[in-house]
């Protein structure tokens, strides 16, 4: 198992992606120390300034320093991404394992609910929840988490059904090992490699969803420096201040790309096992 993961880091692409992700995590952790300005401080006399030595990425429509907003925004983006994915995956694993392991009526109920949530495409599901619950950091996190839960349930259930029939699991059951122990000791470790690859891909998707909501004006509300929200307000100035939309979009792209490349590579390694 460990060998599989060391194989991951042999790829040059993966190393670069890891470096990008770690840089953003570093920015998020030390935002207060490294950002040159206060991300919320407005100065209308300096609005929409192009990049200069004073403001490396320029200023926005309210004269706020874009670089500082990107740095602080990484905090929001990564928080949403990690928390939403963790919640979505945890719920997905919980219901997926239970559904696959016990079968019967429990399985039927969980599957019907999953189908209902899958009746809307993921992004529209997130939009629906935000539309009903209102927009703030937590509703965005919860909406994004819910939007990824059903596909996790499906995947984990499928994997559990396979593992459940493996001989040593059947043997453990025969010996009277209790179900919770079997799930933790046998089922979850067995399905975890595939889940890890999926979680990595979902870290990227959750960023796309969350900043997509922000872009539509129904995500984390302004003045918070959320990248999608920045793009959404910046697009009004596209004709004379295009720098407003370059850096937030590029940040989203780089981060999502990095998660996707690592996720793909993980998937390949698991498949080749």
């Amino acid at each position: 198992m460990m060998q599989q993961y060391t194989r991951l880091f042999k790829s040059k692409r993966v190393k670069i992606c890891l470096f990008i992700i770690l840089s953003f995590i570093f920015m998020a952790l030390f935002a207060d120390f490294i950002s040159p300005y206060n991300p919320l401080e407005t100065d209308l006399s300096k609005s929409c300034r192009p990049p200069s030595f004073e403001h490396l990425l320029g200023t926005d429509e309210l004269g706020r320093d874009i670089l500082s907003r990107i740095i602080h925004g990484s905090r929001l983006t990564l928080t949403i991404s990690f928390v939403a994915t963790a919640l979505g995956a945890a719920a997905g694993i919980f219901f997926g394992v239970i559904s696959g392991y016990f079968g019967g009526i429990v399985d039927t109920i969980i599957q019907r609910i999953t189908e209902i949530l899958l009746a809307l495409p993921g992004f529209l599901l997130a939009i629906m929840f935000v539309a009903i619950m209102g927009s703030n950091l937590w509703t965005v996190i919860i909406s994004v988490a819910i939007s990824m839960t059903p596909s996790f349930v499906r995947m984990v259930r499928g994997l559990t059904l396979q593992v459940r029939e493996l001989e040593y699991v059947l043997a453990a059951k025969q010996l009277g090992v209790n179900d919770i122990k079997i799930m933790f000791n046998h089922i979850i470790p067995n399905v975890s490699p595939t889940i890890i690859a999926q979680v990595t891909l979902n870290l990227g998707t959750s960023i796309l969803f969350a900043s997509g909501l922000g872009f539509l004006g129904i995500g984390v509300p302004p003045p918070a420096p959320e990248w999608g929200t920045m793009l959404g307000t910046g697009r009004a100035y596209i004709f004379y201040a295009p720098h407003l939309i370059i850096s937030p979009g590029l940040s989203v792209f780089l981060l999502v790309l990095s998660f996707n490349i690592i996720g793909d590579r993980l998937g390949e390694i698991i498949a080749s096992k």
């Binding site: 992004f123 539509l216 004709f239």
Partner: protein
């Protein structure tokens, strides 16, 4: 034997039964979804009429809602009124325009469908050949280039792509309109915006599927008959490889609808996606609810159509 669906040669269900079974599950799922919406809206603390009308609404509006939805009556009656209204496509009156929600939706729907068709076609026309090329040049420079394009396309935020396209073609080159509708020129940028993601995705799955098919035993049989690699790729591998691709493209219709919401907003395209965003921003709940219902219906119908299409292209699952 009458009409029969076969899987691996064994009859499973009669075609008509299968079709009705699918329609039934579709209806149940949709009822589930609208029930969920019903529960969610009513679980928000406070007067549901007030919640539905929004904080800024006048007392008059709130009363109108209360009446429209029968909110004075017991909850289960409310629920049945609600279901009956939805399934007779009586989606209520918009707060914003004061006209029936369904009229507004039907006025917008063709625009969204048009965008869906143009972008899917663009993506398929370019995506499938590029995926096949990547597979046949596996490990080469062209494959590397296409794979890089593919993963970048999948990771690109669609809202940013739209803005960059406006920046290039409308702001710098001034050859295409930045928004609006009416002429084919207006269609180009929104189509490209949605198509690029889909195309990147199609390149990826086509490549994987072709490579997978090339490792099958029937390829060795074909070689042993004396067929050339090229003939084998076009006559044997492609048809096998494209069957799963068609299904996956159908499933991607969901991502396409999600993309449409964003793209229509960027390019001021008068479709269903922009309608839903505008309605959320103006707290026009009947409109939000109605659009979500129609989106779900559309998504379900496309999935059903994909399933039926599948039975036509895969001889292993076929009407007898």
């Amino acid at each position: 034997m009458g009409l029969c669906y076969t899987v691996g040669g064994k009859p499973v269900l009669s075609a008509l039964k299968y079709f009705f079974y699918r329609l039934l599950t579709l209806a149940i799922t949709l009822i589930g979804l609208v029930t969920l919406i019903f529960i969610l809206i009513r679980s928000i603390p406070g007067d549901p009429a007030r919640v539905l009308a929004g904080m800024m609404a006048s007392e008059e509006d709130v009363n109108l809602i209360r009446e429209q939805l029968g909110l004075n009556q017991p909850i289960y009656i409310q629920y049945f009124i609600y279901l009956k209204n939805l399934f007779t496509l009586n989606l209520g009156i918009s707060f914003r325009t004061d006209s029936p929600v369904i009229n507004e939706i039907f006025a917008r729907l063709p625009n969204t469908l048009l965008l869906a068709v143009t972008s899917t076609c663009t993506a398929v026309i370019f995506g499938i050949p590029l995926g096949v090329i990547a597979a046949s040049k596996k490990g080469g420079k062209l494959d590397f280039l296409l794979s890089t394009f593919s993963i970048a396309g999948i990771s690109l935020p669609i809202y940013w792509l739209g803005l960059i396209l406006i920046l290039i073609f409308s702001v710098e080159l001034r050859i295409l309109p930045a928004g609006g509708s009416g002429t084919p020129m207006h269609l180009i940028l929104p189509t490209l915006t949605i198509a690029l993601y889909l195309m990147a995705f199609i390149v990826k799955i086509t490549k994987a599927s072709v490579i997978d098919s090339m490792e099958k035993n029937y390829v060795i049989t074909a070689k042993s008959k004396g067929l050339s690699e090229r003939t084998i790729l076009y006559k044997h591998v492609l048809k096998n490889a494209l069957i799963p691709v068609v299904t996956i493209i159908g499933l991607q219709f969901g991502a396409l609808l999600g993309g449409a919401v964003i793209t229509e907003t960027i390019f001021a395209w008068p479709g269903l996606g922009r309608l839903i965003v505008d309605s959320i921003n103006s707290r026009d709940y009947p409109m939000v609810q109605g659009s979500i219902f129609i989106f779900a219906l559309l998504y379900a119908l496309v999935n059903l159509a994909t399933d039926i299409l599948y039975t036509f292209i895969d001889p292993r699952v076929r009407l007898k």
